[in-house]
């Protein structure tokens, strides 16, 4: 009887159905005539089914930070409570990957999934808001076209994960279809009003700015070919100045030679309006050529060469190798 009483919480825990996964990567790269070794982010990923309607997803990253006394910081990347209210329709609360483009939604911190070693340049340039804390209304795989939607309302740029810094809410709207196996076509829009004096990506925004982002996505991941192309147009309307139009794009293409080996290329381009004040105003082009060796779905090796040409700081080359694992 006593044993049965003590067994009960264990049984409840088992019924809760919690899974823990992790992702990590290590790199070795040659740049400026120096060979470097580095460890990447360690990503702890937890999912839990709470009952038939509610589920939880959490993602926490441990990463190098020179300003930390221990050299590492803990970063909460996602905390999502999902409520499946009907069919394939969900309401999501919490901190999300902003559904503004495919890469941000599909890969983010799981480098074992990345088709290349690193993210496209538009991420490094802070071109899109990577996270949004708020509420989302999501539909998945609806009808023959496997239509999907996501309408997200959340704290805007300059706010934090615990409170908003002004009355304006950021709004993200995403529509996509998957008409054939392996295909994904999508379009998304984002709008936010950023208050004067806000700090966004470590940069002080001196004037009130209305930002609108528009993204288009075409992706195909088949058994032979892989293609991922995304382009974002950013319209920044700064009070007292004219509106600026800046663009960020990338195209990835891979050819699967067999189950394990995929040579690939990626082209990135950042094109800023001459009057751009919101981003670092430096036009940049980059080309990557490399190959991926998938030992299995949990161990992926990549080697690539990247040439980057920046308008102001000039050109640079990088030879990089990475081993990414899931565990």
């Amino acid at each position: 009887m006593i044993i049965l009483v003590f067994m009960q919480p264990v049984a409840k825990l088992a019924a809760q159905d919690t899974q823990i996964l992790g992702f990590v990567a290590a790199e070795m790269f040659y740049q400026d005539e120096t060979l470097n070794f580095g460890i990447g982010e360690q990503d702890l990923f937890i999912t839990s089914r709470l009952n038939d309607n509610f589920s939880f997803l959490g993602e926490t990253v441990f990463k190098f930070s020179p300003n930390s006394p221990t050299d590492f910081n803990v970063s909460v990347e996602r905390i999502i409570v999902s409520y499946n209210y009907k069919g394939n329709h969900n309401i999501l609360f919490g901190k999300h990957h902003t559904p503004i483009n495919y890469w941000n939604d599909a890969y983010h911190h799981g480098r074992v999934f990345f088709p290349t070693i690193g993210r496209p340049l538009l991420f490094m340039a802070d071109f899109i808001p990577i996270h949004t804390t708020g509420i989302a209304f999501q539909g998945l795989n609806l009808g023959d076209l496997r239509f999907g939607y996501n309408l997200m309302i959340g704290n805007g740029l300059g706010s934090t994960d615990v409170e908003e810094n002004n009355k304006a809410k950021s709004v993200t709207a995403l529509l996509n279809i998957k008409p054939w196996d392996g295909w994904h076509l999508g379009a998304a829009a984002y709008r936010d009003v950023i208050s004067a004096g806000s700090v966004v990506h470590g940069r002080l925004i001196p004037n009130k700015t209305t930002q609108s982002l528009f993204t288009g996505t075409a992706a195909y991941f088949g058994q032979k070919f892989e293609l991922l192309a995304e382009s974002t147009l950013a319209l920044n309307d700064v009070t007292g100045s004219s509106r600026t139009n800046s663009y960020a794009s990338y195209v990835y293409a891979g050819l699967r030679l067999n189950e394990k080996v995929v040579p690939y290329i990626r082209l990135d381009n950042l094109q800023y309006d001459s009057g751009e004040q919101f981003f670092d105003n430096e036009d940049t082009t980059s080309i990557i050529a490399g190959f991926r060796y998938e030992v299995n779905y949990l161990i992926v090796l990549k080697m690539e060469y990247q040439y980057t040409d920046r308008d102001i700081s000039g050109s640079s080359s990088l030879l990089n190798t990475q081993v990414a694992i899931g565990f």
Partner: protein
């Protein structure tokens, strides 16, 4: 005498090799479902959609629970090839990616077909892939796919 021995050994080797089935060779899969909520028949495209986790609930609102044999079993390996048109590695990668995106709940994987069928029998809304399943007293039902009970 030595020649006879060689012939006998070769015949035995051929017999033994013939007795070992290649993965998937002659294998017939059954789609099994819990009597509650799971429809009695569907087409192969609907089945693929369901087993890939793209349908979250049945028409009566009960959530879909997927039961598959582990991909390192012969049934699991043949399921990948026959139903998903993927390698075992591709299937594992697919579900890992979908779970990471928060869009699909991972299937329940089993090491024996009796465990899988027991899970399907006691779990409303469960659907799974098994082999040589007998319908038993309403606890589990065989789903007809494109007019056939075997794939």
């Amino acid at each position: 005498m030595r020649m006879n021995c060689k012939i006998i050994i070769a015949l035995i080797a051929l017999f033994v090799a013939g007795c070992i089935p290649a993965v998937g060779q002659g294998m017939q899969l059954n789609i099994v479902g819990n009597p509650q909520s799971v429809p009695a028949k569907m087409d192969i495209d609907q089945l693929k959609t369901i087993l890939k986790g793209e349908k979250l609930r049945w028409d009566d609102g009960v959530s879909v629970k997927i039961a598959l044999m582990k991909t390192n079993t012969s049934i699991g390996s043949y399921t990948c090839e026959r139903i998903f048109n993927m390698s075992t590695n591709e299937l594992n990668k697919y579900f890992l990616a979908q779970v990471f995106q928060g869009k699909v709940k991972a299937p329940n994987f089993f090491t024996s077909k009796s465990e899988l069928e027991e899970y399907v029998a006691r779990t409303p809304g469960a659907i799974g892939v098994s082999q040589n399943t007998a319908e038993n007293d309403g606890e589990i039902k065989l789903i007809v796919i494109d007019g056939r009970k075997q794939l």
